[in-house]
């Protein structure tokens, strides 16, 4: 599954790209067509989840480093905003960047000891650390407000339409940035880590440093989105640090297709819409995700996008082997 070639456009406009731009155009005029605020809200949630999932895919799908505590980067970005806005009024853009930077610091704390090694250490350490942070968030009520979290955080975009466009802006910027990254020499080196770590080390790539930098980039994106999520909702809760959030992201990416870059987006949309519109599956949500993940990994390794690639061949521009 993880050998899936990265088929990021080869500088020419392909059918899927036209389709994507068209879809984006429709999304841009959507607020003028529908009056339902709730639909816009759900789309915002989906966009946030999509960018967050992209950051997980950057690490797992492209670099082959599994992170099982990814929610901590999201959560720490959110809590950063929560703590700062309690004491100071800072410009929101600074807040978003700060959320990302604190998240990068956190990723260095976990990444430097664990990413130097090959093996399952990073996955286990991230899972353990996210549990530590979750415990702290629950166990220090004076500081973090325990289960209630920190509330009444001033929103920086008050209108839902504003947030709608801003979330799309972030999604598009993230997709373009990751696209550029993986076309660059630096990004190619990151991908080589997934393909064969020993070989890339033998080829003179300083694998540990690259892994640590890649993890930091992923953490920045996650922390940034966490901060934005915090601004959007106006509160932070320990849920943003929980295993279930990490698991949702894993589900989004596995469902969309690991290492496909775009797969996370339909994955995030489908999961968010299921969540928000099918109330009766609420209790079975994680159960269903888990089942779907297991089935996908057992039977169709490429996820949704992998399936599309096989069936339509249109995503296959230039790549002879999609698997």
């Amino acid at each position: 599954m993880l050998k899936t070639k990265v088929s990021i456009g080869r500088g020419r406009i392909s059918i899927p790209m036209v389709f994507a731009i068209g879809l984006l155009g429709v999304m841009m005029v959507l607020p003028f067509l529908v009056q339902k605020q709730y639909l816009l809200h759900v789309i915002i949630l989906a966009n946030i989840l999509a960018v967050f999932a992209l950051s997980w895919d950057l690490l797992a799908g492209f670099m082959g480093q599994l992170n099982l505590g990814h929610s901590m980067f999201f959560g720490i970005g959110a809590y950063t905003i929560g703590f700062i806005t309690m004491a100071y009024r800072i410009p929101p853009v600074l807040g978003l960047l700060l959320g990302g930077l604190i998240s990068v610091l956190l990723s260095l704390v976990v990444g430097i000891p664990c990413l130097r090694l090959r093996g399952p250490y990073y996955a286990i350490a991230t899972l353990a650390f996210s549990q530590v942070l979750f415990t702290l968030a629950m166990g220090l009520p004076k500081l973090t407000g325990s289960e209630e979290g920190i509330t009444k955080i001033p929103k920086f975009i008050t209108s839902i339409q504003g947030n709608y466009y801003f979330s799309f802006f972030l999604l598009v910027v993230a997709v373009i940035a990751l696209n550029l990254l993986f076309r660059s020499k630096f990004g190619k080196k990151l991908i080589s880590l997934r393909e064969d770590e020993r070989l890339s080390e033998a080829a003179g790539i300083d694998t540990s440093t690259y892994k640590i930098i890649g993890a930091a980039m992923s953490a920045f994106l996650a922390g940034f989105m966490g901060a934005y999520n915090c601004y959007y909702h106006g509160n932070v809760t320990p849920d943003m640090l929980s295993i279930s959030l990490t698991f949702s992201v894993v589900a989004v990416v596995v469902f969309g297709g690991v290492g496909t870059l775009y797969g996370a987006i339909p994955g995030a949309y489908i999961l968010t819409f299921l969540n928000e519109y099918l109330y009766f599956i609420m209790d079975y949500r994680l159960l269903i995700y888990a089942l779907v993940i297991m089935l996908i990994l057992l039977y169709s390794s490429g996820g949704l996008l992998g399936l599309l690639r096989e069936r339509l061949k249109v995503f296959n521009h230039g790549n002879t082997s999609s698997q």
């Binding site: 797992a60 664990c114 250490y121 286990i124 350490a125 353990a128 698991f247 990994l297």
Partner: protein, 284 residues
């Protein structure tokens, strides 16, 4: 008081060692990073709860039944889920992670989210001077130690155990020599799962049981395995005792909520100082 904590900690350590051993076995022999190890611990607690509290079965009989049920569940899981994805370490981790969530949700739906407890196998406690030790802890420790010892003997002396050690040392060679690697893989995973469940059974009367109870023991087991060095039984047992002690010390002197911090710190420190673990590469 300190003596009390030390003794309780050591007794608890025996159970941690049992859990760590289960993880170490699947990790060392089959190279399977079993993130569902914790949920099998939880499942063990819940199954014995059903036997003892709901079906009113004798505790020891219930322990035996739970062991058998979970052993076969482990075999089933290995066949259905793990065998097809074993080639890729990342897929194994994602699958076992999903399995952990899946089983936790099943527990939540089947037994509910309430906190429960089971009656102890033996009531009462032993008083030595100032120190109270309840029989349940001693029993759990004794059984844990007996099982670890039995497992070691089985690995050293029986034909299956020797084959298992060969698989651990050299997978290809084992296949060349006609060892049924698939069968060993199945049995080893089943045993690992059953050991986790056994730890869950033995600790069920001492702690509250709830669906998400498995995560802390899971991380604890990984910390034990990392600290002790993968594949080292001595390291696993010593690691188990060490964590038993630190768990009780942390929960007494700091807060029981901070117990999660212990495995994480231990992991990070070990990986920084001695990534291979502190107790060398003694092979089973």
């Amino acid at each position: 008081m300190v003596l009390q904590i030390l003794i309780s900690g050591l007794l608890l350590g025996g159970i941690y060692a049992l859990m760590g051993l289960g993880l170490s076995l699947t990790l060392g022999v089959m190279r399977i990073v079993n993130l569902a190890h914790g949920v099998f611990y939880a499942l063990g607690s819940f199954v014995i709860y059903s036997f003892v509290v709901q079906a009113k079965v004798n505790s020891f009989l219930a322990l035996f039944f739970t062991f058998i049920i979970l052993f076969f569940l482990g075999i089933f899981v290995e066949r259905i889920l793990l065998k097809p994805v074993r080639e890729s370490e990342m897929n194994v981790m994602i699958v076992t992670f999903a399995l952990a969530i899946f089983a936790e949700q099943c527990i939540r739906l089947g037994w509910g989210v309430m906190y429960r407890s089971t009656p102890p196998f033996f009531k009462g406690e032993l008083k030595i001077g100032e120190v109270f030790v309840d029989y349940q802890r001693m029993l759990a420790f004794g059984m844990g130690m007996a099982i670890i010892f039995g497992l070691l003997v089985a690995l050293k002396k029986t034909k299956l155990g020797k084959a298992t050690r060969l698989v651990q040392q050299n997978y290809e060679m084992a296949m060349l020599l006609g060892v049924n690697v698939n069968f060993i893989s199945m049995v080893v995973y089943g045993t690992g799962v059953a050991l986790a469940a056994l730890a869950g059974c033995l600790l069920a009367p001492l702690y509250l049981i709830f669906p998400a109870m498995g995560w802390t023991p899971l991380l604890m087991s990984f910390a034990i395995v990392i600290l002790g060095g993968m594949g080292s039984i001595l390291g696993t047992v010593i690691g188990g005792f060490l964590f038993g002690l630190t768990t009780l010390l942390t929960s007494y002197y700091i807060s029981s909520g901070m117990v999660n911090v212990v495995p994480f710190l231990a992991m990070i420190v070990t990986l920084l100082i001695r990534p291979g673990g502190f107790f060398g590469k003694e092979i089973f």
